[in-house]
Symmetry: C2
Subunit: 243 residues, 2 copies
């Protein structure tokens, strides 16, 4: 049996607009699915307001607990974009215009015949010691400082940054999953399902009720890093439930 290597992550969503309900988050689900697929287990998500101390406190709590912390939002050119400063505060790192980021922005705007204004240059402010994360969509880079990866909030840009940073991430054993969907109320299968969980303590079994055509249905999800074990648990569960 090979040793199982577990790599974990947290996601910190920075955004008053999510907390007010004005903008509906589109990043949590995408990042969760991506990390699961590459073998990183997302263990916690937090959404915090655009307040420097709140962001810094959350970053410090999460970066000590998980292999990686991903953040989204707050790296644009306006006064409410305070993620770089907040990360700097969390790490006690100086934040200033990064020459590499400045060059990227200067080239990008020069090609468009636009000036690199003070507001645009604000997007080159990066904490000291950070590596840049490539932004193939709109140039202004994200960055990585130790285990904290800072990305944009606009979904298309966030996704491009996540793709750019992915090859450099350590990954562990993938948590494989398998779903069995049943047109019965959850309470009808609960006893047999719980008994089955006891038989397979190494397979995490979750039950997720939903409505289908106005009737209750349930999706039983089994998770395990070992494919053979997962298949066996699913097969015996199906027999136990007669499906």
């Amino acid at each position: 049996m090979t040793e199982e290597r577990i790599v974990t992550a947290a996601l910190l969503v920075i955004g008053d607009e999510i907390l007010s309900g004005r903008t509906k988050d589109q990043n949590i689900g995408f990042i969760a699915e991506h990390l699961t697929n590459i073998g990183i287990r997302l263990k916690e998500v937090r959404v915090v307001p655009d307040i420097e101390d709140d962001i810094a406190d959350a970053v410090n709590a999460l970066r000590r607990r998980y292999t990686y912390v991903f953040t989204t939002g707050g790296i644009g050119p306006t006064h409410d974009d305070i993620t770089a400063d907040s990360i700097g505060k969390a790490f006690s790192a100086r934040v200033g215009v990064d020459p590499r980021a400045e060059k990227i922005l200067r080239d990008y705007y020069a090609e468009k015949g636009l000036e690199l204004t003070g507001a645009r240059l604000r997007m080159a402010r990066i904490p000291e010691g950070a590596e840049l994360v490539d932004n193939p969509v709109s140039a202004a880079p994200g960055f990585r400082l130790e285990n904290v990866i800072v990305m944009a909030g606009i979904p298309s840009i966030m996704q491009a940054m996540l793709a750019a940073v992915t090859p450099s991430l350590a990954t562990g054993s993938k948590l494989l999953s398998l779903a069995i969907s049943i047109d019965r109320a959850e309470s009808e299968i609960a006893a047999a399902f719980s008994a089955h969980q006891k038989l397979y303590p190494d397979v995490t079994m979750g039950s997720y009720p939903f409505m289908r055509d106005g009737r209750y249905a349930v999706e039983l999800v089994l998770r395990c890093a070992d494919q053979a074990r997962l298949d066996e648990a699913a097969a015996t569960l199906k027999r136990a439930l007669g499906v």
Copy 2:
């Protein structure tokens, strides 16, 4: 000038299925919008796995910091539904079958000609000292213990529980908001926008870029509890930007 009363809340989403990306959360945005509309300010959201200690720790961190804590998920009949026990742990409260909840479930299943099995009775397990939260959709109640309000994860049931509990909530001054949508890149309006924020320190101004027909656009959102002040800040901002 009347004194401003601020009521705050946090939301704790309990769910392995959200963290794995298999289920996309539909509750955060709904709850955020609802709370904003009734004058409660959502200040933080956390998503945690189905682990008793993680849930209890998050509940304890949040309930001391905010007026209310809302939770979603984990109150069904299966073994992975551990929210009641986790809240009991957070409050050091005994968790057992609540006679009021048992009666609700007994009546509900009797009317359907179904038996109140052990699995179904599990949904009557409520921490001591809690009040029940009505579930007009599928009977099994949520509950409220001090400032923590525990709701189902299925969106239709969560929404019914939130409606049921709303009349009993203290509410404060509503944070009013006003949005100005502009077909320009964020970096073009950043300097004028930041200067405007300095003129109105009591109006929170956020800038949210997005793509419209393949081009960058930006939504400027102004927030303030005072309608007249909000209108004035928006009018002068429009003039400053020539829109």
